[in-house]
């Protein structure tokens, strides 16, 4: 299976403070991979470095075989990497429809954009009812759905999801993860999923990496990790 994303020996600093130390992992085509860890572990830093918002201090990031470390974000979007940032990153002053629109910012294929719009509105019917509404007035769950719909409008090959469950009621979390699985299955979108909610993440993912204080400390099959007593104790509250 070919690798969509390959991170090798990545170091990232904030000023002189190291945030990632020698992080390596890979995501293969069609996979859902989870990156699990506690607060401040470096999950968001990893995401931002992949999507080009942060520059690596050293190390390699390869996307579909090409080195992309330090490439500007907007170029990576056109190459097929879409990120749903932590906290959703919705533009509250724009309407729901405008937020969806902006997801397809770089695309020119009008007819296909229209089809994708219909598809995301089908995926998230709640958004369709609220098309004309200013997004700042949406509920937390609706914001998460809008953020995912917006990212899908770019037709990503690799979708980066940073804590999609954050701040949502358990029922809504179920919905969100149901759709994550659906996107992976129906669109064959490769997904890198960052979560603190290890339970949900491990159910949705094929494989997972555990990150603590800037380093990968465990990796393995999602099922194996779920049955691992150490993981159960520290991450699954069992």
């Amino acid at each position: 299976m070919s690798s969509v994303l390959e991170v090798k020996n990545l170091f990232v600093n904030y000023g002189v403070v190291p945030a990632l130390r020698d992080v390596s992992f890979h995501v293969d085509e069609g996979e859902t991979v989870a990156l699990i860890g506690p607060n401040g572990a470096g999950k968001t830093t990893t995401m931002h470095t992949i999507s080009g918002l942060l520059k690596p201090k050293s190390g390699e990031i390869e996307y579909c075989g090409k080195s992309i470390g330090g490439t500007e974000s907007y170029k990576l979007v056109s190459a097929g990497i879409s990120q749903v940032p932590e906290g959703r990153g919705i533009f509250p002053i724009l309407t729901v429809a405008e937020n969806i629109e902006i997801g397809a910012f770089l695309r020119k294929d009008k007819a296909e954009i229209k089809r994708d719009k219909d598809w995301v509105y089908e995926l998230f019917p709640r958004l369709k009812e609220r098309m004309k509404q200013i997004s700042g007035t949406l509920s937390g769950g609706e914001l998460q759905m809008l953020a995912m719909a917006r990212a899908l409008m770019a037709r990503p090959k690799l979708l980066l999801l940073d804590e999609p469950s954050m701040g949502l009621a358990p029922v809504i979390v179920e919905d969100v993860f149901h759709i994550i699985r659906q996107i992976n299955k129906e669109r064959h979108t490769t997904i890198l999923l960052v979560e603190q909610n290890a339970q949900m993440a491990l159910t949705a993912a094929n494989r997972a990496y555990i990150i603590e204080v800037g380093q990968i400390v465990r990796e393995g099959n999602a099922k194996d990790l779920m049955n691992d007593s150490e993981i159960q104790k520290s991450y699954l509250g069992l």
């Binding site: 907007y74 979007v77 990120q83 990153g89 533009f91 002053i93 997801g103 700042g136 509920s139 917006r150």
Partner: protein, 290 residues
């Protein structure tokens, strides 16, 4: 009398609005005050004066050329004075850089054009009066040009893809990048659009008062900045609204209270409104849900 003062107020108010938009839009995307904005306006106005005096260029072509010149100058200011500053105490460094750029442009203008005041006559003045109410052809022209400029800006910001990108950048540059937006280009464009409007406003005000001088940007810039603050800095409708309020109050104040304090009214009103509404009349009521 009242309507006469009101009309005069609306006319200068429209010019303030055009200048205020530049402050507000740049603040919207970068959260910095571009103190060189009014000096770009001044420099562009001098270019207009030269084009009219020495090349006898027709008014319309002259205004267009001046606005384009202002755009390029405005974008250059961003490239040279703001973009390189990325880290450290960024806000403070940008402030110093902005003031430096402002002083530089003023001094350069003094060096090239001299420090005196030049007259600026671009069109023959005619006035029409009916029942105690006077309006000049120049005033009509200013009203028309201002309206057209504001309409074009409205369409650009609220009806085009570039406009969506600009508004997205004003919320978060990083999140805009994640949408595939080349944010450097949008920021540059924002400076360009703001300076374009300032160039047009400079010609209008230069011709209206028939005075062009290297420090002409100072008071005009301060009033336009007051208008932007008053409307809620970062807000586009706020800047327009603020401009008209400042112009009208200044004109009414000068007419009914004392013309000696003309320039003080703008700031008085700004302070008064900020006491009541610290984020300005249309300032962002931040709806941020996480």
């Amino acid at each position: 009398m009242f309507f006469q003062h009101l009309l005069n107020g609306i006319i200068v108010g429209g010019i303030y609005a055009m200048v205020a938009l530049g402050y507000s839009m740049v603040y919207g995307v970068l959260q910095i005050v571009n103190w060189a904005h009014a000096d770009v306006l001044m420099f562009a106005t001098f270019i207009g004066l030269l084009l009219t005096t020495y090349l006898k260029m027709p008014v319309f072509a002259m205004v267009l050329l001046v606005a384009l010149f202002a755009s390029v100058l405005g974008m250059s200011v961003e490239r040279v004075a703001y973009r390189p500053i990325k880290s450290g105490n960024r806000k403070m460094a940008v402030l110093v850089s902005a003031l430096g750029m402002s002083t530089f442009l003023q001094n350069l203008a003094q060096l090239i054009f001299g420090s005196g005041t030049r007259q600026f006559k671009a069109i023959e003045s005619k006035s029409f009066s009916f029942s105690g109410f006077t309006i000049t052809n120049l005033q009509i022209l200013i009203l028309v040009v201002t309206s057209v400029m504001l309409l074009i800006l409205y369409i650009l910001v609220y009806r085009t893809k570039i406009g969506i990108a600009m508004r997205a950048c004003s919320v978060s540059v990083d999140n805009a990048k994640l949408m595939g937006i080349n944010t450097n280009l949008i920021i540059s464009g924002t400076f360009g659009v703001g300076a374009f409007m300032a160039g047009v406003a400079g010609i209008l005000i230069g011709v209206y008062y028939s005075a062009v001088y290297p420090t002409m940007g100072y008071l005009l810039g301060m009033k336009a900045f007051a208008a932007a603050i008053l409307g809620g800095i970062g807000s586009i409708p706020g800047a327009v609204f603020g401009g008209f309020i400042i112009g009208t109050i200044e004109s009414l104040g000068a007419g009914y209270i004392s013309s000696a304090y003309r320039d003080a009214f703008a700031f008085f009103v700004m302070i008064l409104i900020l006491v009541v509404r610290p984020s300005g009349l249309m300032g962002a009521k931040h709806i941020d849900k996480v």
